[in-house]
């Protein structure tokens, strides 16, 4: 076998796969954040907590209702989306006329409530969630070993990201959405119910977080704190991609996941902070982010 800069290819590709997996979650989460930010102008601090709730819903379903992974893949995002709709309707919608920073603070408070309650109920040790039997095992690609489930996660996240991008950029509903982002009052004057659209946008955005949570459950254990450190990396990803840019969020999600994987191989000490360093550099050179535009 060949070697790259003294790194055995097994380790290199292993870390790249790990990076790609992380990147898939970054992409899914930052996609939801970007969708929400584009429409509501709110940075959803509760995104990480709702991702955690998604994983817990999957675990509840398995534990108490006997519903496995495939059922959870549908039910959990819907449940999290509904929770999001309740949050938007009862709390977030009262703050639109104020400074957008209040939205950030409110969702921060919600994140604390969710995390605190789950931590109180379930402790911090984490609950195991088995890989679905259909995707157990893996295959040897010759240069590395690929567990089927991880391949599935990458595949599914790409499909979901592309589908969301298509729905927003290429469909009629998406065009309403983009129009309402530009000028909500004008769109409302055309007879489109903008408040409902805002609510649904928030619901769909957090449902994406819930979906990511279910997908993460078999890989990482289901843990009340699983979202709290992830979310800050995802914030950085969104800033790098350009806030509100759907395409930017997805692409920079995957790219930064891979970069993190590579850093783990070549310079492991910096792997935790490489995303933040890139963010600072990007902000100094291109303040609007890689794919963003000034607004």
């Amino acid at each position: 076998m060949f070697e790259l800069l003294g790194i055995p290819p097994q380790a290199l590709f292993g870390q790249l796969l790990l990076g790609l997996i992380n990147g898939s979650f970054y992409a899914l989460l930052s996609l939801g954040l970007a969708v929400i930010f584009g429409m509501l102008n709110v940075i959803n601090f509760a995104h990480g907590a709702l991702y955690m709730v998604g994983a817990f819903v999957a675990w509840f379903l398995m534990q108490y209702a006997g519903i496995g992974y495939w059922g959870a893949l549908v039910i959990a995002p819907v449940a999290v989306g509904l929770l999001g709709i309740v949050i938007e309707k009862t709390m977030l919608s009262r703050l639109y006329k104020l400074d957008h920073l209040y939205g950030l603070l409110l969702t921060f408070g919600i994140a604390l409530i969710l995390e605190g309650s789950f931590k109180h109920e379930f402790g911090v040790s984490g609950q195991a969630y088995p890989v679905p039997t259909a995707l157990a095992g893996g295959t040897n690609l010759g240069f590395m070993f690929l567990p089927f489930y991880r391949g599935w996660v990458v595949l599914l996240s790409v499909v979901v990201c592309v589908a969301t991008w298509y729905a927003i950029e290429r469909t009629r509903l998406g065009s309403y959405l983009r129009a309402a982002t530009e000028n909500p009052r004008l769109v409302q004057a055309f007879g489109i119910n903008v408040p409902v659209m805002i609510t649904l946008t928030y619901g769909v955005g957090v449902a994406l977080a819930g979906l990511a949570g279910v997908m993460a459950a078999p890989i990482y254990s289901v843990n009340p704190l699983m979202g709290s450190n992830l979310i800050i990396v995802v914030f950085a990803v969104v800033v790098i991609g350009g806030m509100g840019s759907i395409f930017g969020a997805v692409v920079s999600g995957y790219l930064l996941g891979l970069t993190e994987g590579l850093t783990k191989v070549f310079f492991p000490e910096a792997s935790n902070i490489v995303v933040f360093i890139i963010m600072v550099v990007v902000l100094l050179l291109r303040p609007a982010g890689l794919f963003g535009r000034e607004r």
């Binding site: 957008h100 603070l105 969710l114 605190g116 309650s117 800050i232 000490e269 600072v280």
Partner: protein
């Protein structure tokens, strides 16, 4: 877009009422602070005062420049480590150690501010958050200095100026109180100086401040650095008072907590953040004993504050006082 966090609903929170009641209230508060160690456990009030100073320092940028920093824990925490290290390993006296901590906090603030003030509003919050997370990971990795997960334990309190022993918790309290009052006076001076007036002008209408010829970025950077240095004093004093500097001090949850303290007490008021800090610290103390989930309750208070109580306690009080004053005049 100028961020008007303190003035969105309430108008000018630092209301215009006659100075009479303000002086009386100020004297009462100082008397209360002097008597406090006899009313409550001194170790606890000492910690509360450190957080009160932290919140006041934070309020300097949020309340008077309108910048929401989500990374102030970095300055607080790094200064706690610096002070603790200097006092423990270099044998610095407490006041020198705290000054050293403030210097480190201020330097870090200068660097973070230099990067962050290029953007405003939500972006500013995100950038400060991300950089403070970098500081957090740095503190985990630099275990040789910070003690990693264990933290820097057994920081000696030492003797102020090499003369006054503050090992005793009562003497320690009065030392912390002196630091607090000194810094509070400094903050008061900053806010009421021409420099402070420019800061408020930037908060209210940044384009206008620019058109008047002020170099807005320099003012913001200086205010941010000052705030970071004062947060550093708070962190350093905390390290001396509690004799511990740990990862909790640098964690981003701490940045959230200081926002809550400020919001609860009243953004843009002078004493508000201190009041808020006192409440939050007592609440945590009480909850930790009762076995209730602290984080959940803190989150709940946060939500209520944002939804229904945006002026904060002192803000509401000022409005009430102002209303009463104007009724008396007419």
């Amino acid at each position: 877009m100028a961020v008007k966090l303190s003035t969105t609903v309430s108008g000018t929170v630092t209301g215009s009422f006659s100075p009479g009641p303000r002086i009386v209230i100020g004297l009462l508060l100082i008397a209360l602070l002097l008597a406090l160690p006899f009313l409550a456990y001194p170790g606890f009030v000492m910690k509360a005062l450190c957080f009160a100073l932290f919140a006041c320092a934070f309020n300097l940028v949020l309340g008077f420049v309108g910048l929401l920093s989500f990374g102030h824990a970095a300055f607080f925490g790094i200064a706690a480590y610096a002070t603790g290290y200097a006092a423990k390993f270099w044998g610095f006296t407490p006041e020198l150690a705290i000054l050293f901590g403030a210097l480190i906090g201020g330097l870090l603030g200068l660097i973070v501010g230099w990067v962050a003030i290029r953007r405003q509003g939500i972006y500013f919050a995100m950038i400060t958050l991300a950089i403070s997370q970098m500081v957090f990971f740095f503190c985990i990795q630099a275990g040789g200095i910070t003690g990693g997960e264990d933290g820097l334990q057994g920081v000696p309190r030492g003797k102020v100026f090499g003369l006054i022993d503050i090992e005793d918790s009562l003497a320690g309290y009065y030392f912390v109180l002196a630091v607090f009052l000194l810094c509070f006076a400094l903050i008061w001076r900053i806010v009421h100086s021409p420099f402070g007036a420019v800061l408020k002008a930037i908060r209210e209408n940044e384009p206008r401040a620019i058109s008047l010829g002020y170099r807005v970025d320099r003012f913001k950077l200086l205010a941010f650095t000052l705030s970071a240095a004062l947060a550093g004093v708070a962190g350093g004093t905390k390290a001396i008072a509690v004799q511990l500097a740990s990862l909790t001090d640098v964690q981003w949850q701490m940045s959230g907590e200081v926002i809550l303290m400020t919001l609860l007490g009243g953004v843009g008021t002078l004493v508000g953040p201190a009041v808020g800090a006192g409440l939050v610290v007592s609440m945590e103390n009480y909850l930790a004993e009762s076995g209730l989930p602290v984080t959940t309750v803190i989150g709940f208070v946060f939500v209520v504050c944002v939804l229904a109580f945006r002026r904060g306690i002192v803000g509401e009080f000022n409005v009430w006082l102002g209303r009463r004053g104007s009724r008396a005049k007419s």
